[in-house]
């Protein structure tokens, strides 16, 4: 039987010539990731493993990004625990404040993940690296600890859904709208336990940033991973960011998919996920009653990359943030921060009345830097709008692309960029 891309990567890392959905395998890991929330728990577990040493000090990545720069004393203790562990085990890929960024934007940028890799991360959005033709998936802290100690993890081989993308996206539509459109269609459990494999001629029209955004939100459909085929654009990206050797896997012609879904990218419209699930999607033209807002956040592992800010800056240029709307710009990494500065985007944002934060997850998970009070509404380019995600249980998060978020900041209500 033919294998999907995901199945091929899993088989090769388990030393098997073939795997099929449902098989339980032990596979070798190319990278194990943790952050300041999950790594401290993993370190406690690691210490319970007999004679534990890190399997490979170059294959562990530790990123203090969630509550960092330390938001309070407890968070400072968590970060310290991770820093001490990194020192003790001589972890080469520990990223201190000053080098750090939001993990899923940082790791590809640092060239730590390449095509054909098998990566686990104690963070659900680890699935982001599927954009590079890697298998990557979120796990918990115990898996992270076991992975650090043994270089292995157990997996149940997933079945797959195939998304055939054709056509080209229109203006003000980007990867975010494509993935929100898909989640709106299949639901937050539409891909439960499965791989989402994206194929088709339309992929050539997606930038790497679009692909990162789409793969990032595969978990919001319940998927184990999302994965893209490797094309020239992927190889360009990998070769300009990494020295690591990569392997290109392609799905077999006769690979089996539980479902094949076709999406013409030219029909996707700017899409917003209403509270409190990413599946509650409406296109901007379906929003008939004004939804007034208190805050806008542009950033996160979903949409905190350079192209996101260049798009937002174009919208903000010559406009002002509406009175009463707090607007936060959070570049996901130091490099992106610097690029935004050099390209003059920061000037545009500040002149429009937005503020700029150091790289952090911050408000995305209701951590710090922009927490919502009861009854407040936020348009965010992040990936989750669960109850209480960004603050008070009675606050609301609306997920959108950076252009919609910027237009909404200017008009003080959820808005389509064409309304400006």
């Amino acid at each position: 039987m033919g294998m999907t891309m995901t199945q091929k990567i899993l088989a090769s890392h388990a030393g098997l010539s073939e795997v099929k959905p449902g098989d339980l395998i032990m596979a070798d890991l190319d990278l194990v990731l943790g952050n300041d929330i999950t790594a401290p728990v993993a370190i406690d577990v690691f210490d319970k493993i007999k004679a534990a040493a890190v399997f490979d000090k170059h294959k562990v990545a530790l990123v203090p990004d969630h509550f960092a720069p330390n938001k309070d004393i407890k968070a400072a203790e968590q970060c310290k625990k991770m820093r001490m562990f990194a020192g003790e085990h001589e972890i080469t890929n520990y990223f201190e404040i000053g080098q750090m960024g939001v993990e899923h934007a940082l790791l590809p940028e640092k060239g730590l993940v390449v095509a054909g890799n098998l990566v686990i991360g104690a963070d659900s959005h680890t699935c982001t690296y599927g954009a590079l033709g890697a298998f990557s998936t979120g796990v918990g802290s115990t898996d992270m600890a076991a992975g650090m100690a043994t270089g292995k993890a157990w997996f149940k081989v997933p079945a797959a859904l195939k998304f055939v993308l054709t056509g080209k996206m229109n203006q003000y539509v980007s990867g975010k709208d494509v993935i929100l459109h898909i989640i709106g269609m299949i639901g937050v459990d539409g891909a439960l336990y499965k791989s989402m494999e994206f194929v088709g001629a339309g992929i050539a029209n997606l930038t790497m940033d679009d692909r990162f955004t789409i793969a990032n939100m595969a978990i919001e459909a319940g998927a184990k991973n999302g994965i893209f085929p490797v094309d020239d654009r992927t190889i360009d990206y990998i070769e300009s960011h990494s020295q690591k050797e990569y392997t290109v896997y392609a799905a077999d012609e006769d690979a089996e998919y539980e479902q094949v879904i076709e999406i013409d990218l030219s029909t996707v419209k700017p899409t917003v996920a209403f509270p409190h699930l990413p599946e509650n999607t409406r296109t901007t033209d379906e929003i008939t009653e004004p939804v007034y807002i208190d805050q806008v956040v542009i950033g996160s592992c979903t949409n905190g990359r350079l192209s996101d800010f260049s798009k937002a800056a174009k919208i903000f240029k010559g406009h002002q943030v509406a009175k009463g709307v707090r607007t936060l710009i959070i570049p996901a990494t130091q490099k992106i921060y610097l690029q935004c500065m050099e390209l003059g985007y920061f000037k545009t944002f500040v002149e429009a009345g937005a503020i700029i934060s150091a790289p952090t997850c911050g408000p995305c998970l209701g951590g710090h830097m922009g927490i919502l009070a009861a009854g407040e509404r936020c348009v965010a380019t992040t990936n989750r709008n669960f109850v209480g995600r960004m603050g008070h249980v009675d606050s609301e998060v609306y997920l959108a692309n950076p252009e919609v978020a910027a237009a909404s900041a200017i008009l003080g209500r959820i808005a389509d960029p064409t309304e400006l």
């Binding site: 407890k74 336990y193 109850v387």
Partner: protein, 161 residues
Amino acid sequence: MKAKGKVFRYGSNVDTDVIIPARYLNTSDPSELAQHCMEDIDADFVKLVKAGDIIVADKNFGCGSSREHAPLSIKTAGISCVIAADFARIFYRNAINIGLPILECPEAAADIEAGDTVEVDFNTGLIINVSKNKTYQGQAFPEFMQKLIAAGGLVNFINEQ
């Protein structure tokens, strides 16, 4: 291994942000986490839960983040088992890895009500609703996962090898 207790009942897509809100994740102390378990979906949960009680929910329980703090807070709060129509995959892994028994059974999830007394046999996957005098067959774990659970979680499993 068996569990018996009173049921706390929830719907579909109970996410890890309501199981343990991120604002409490600046600590990894299980007993501190347990004090806020389910706070954003059921403020009374922590006050009412007794050791051995059972959570029953519909589809996609534990969706969202990978925080192991979620199953850990449920386990530390005293819950002996979570029954759901199905689970989000990272939660499923985490529960097994830390030794929180969970069972998939759409039939039980559809029928069991809040306050019912329920008994679960983990070896067979059989669920008995004592209050309603009914039984449901849940899905027993595959052999590999049974080994993990028998070892008491992933760490012990590794230590044994």
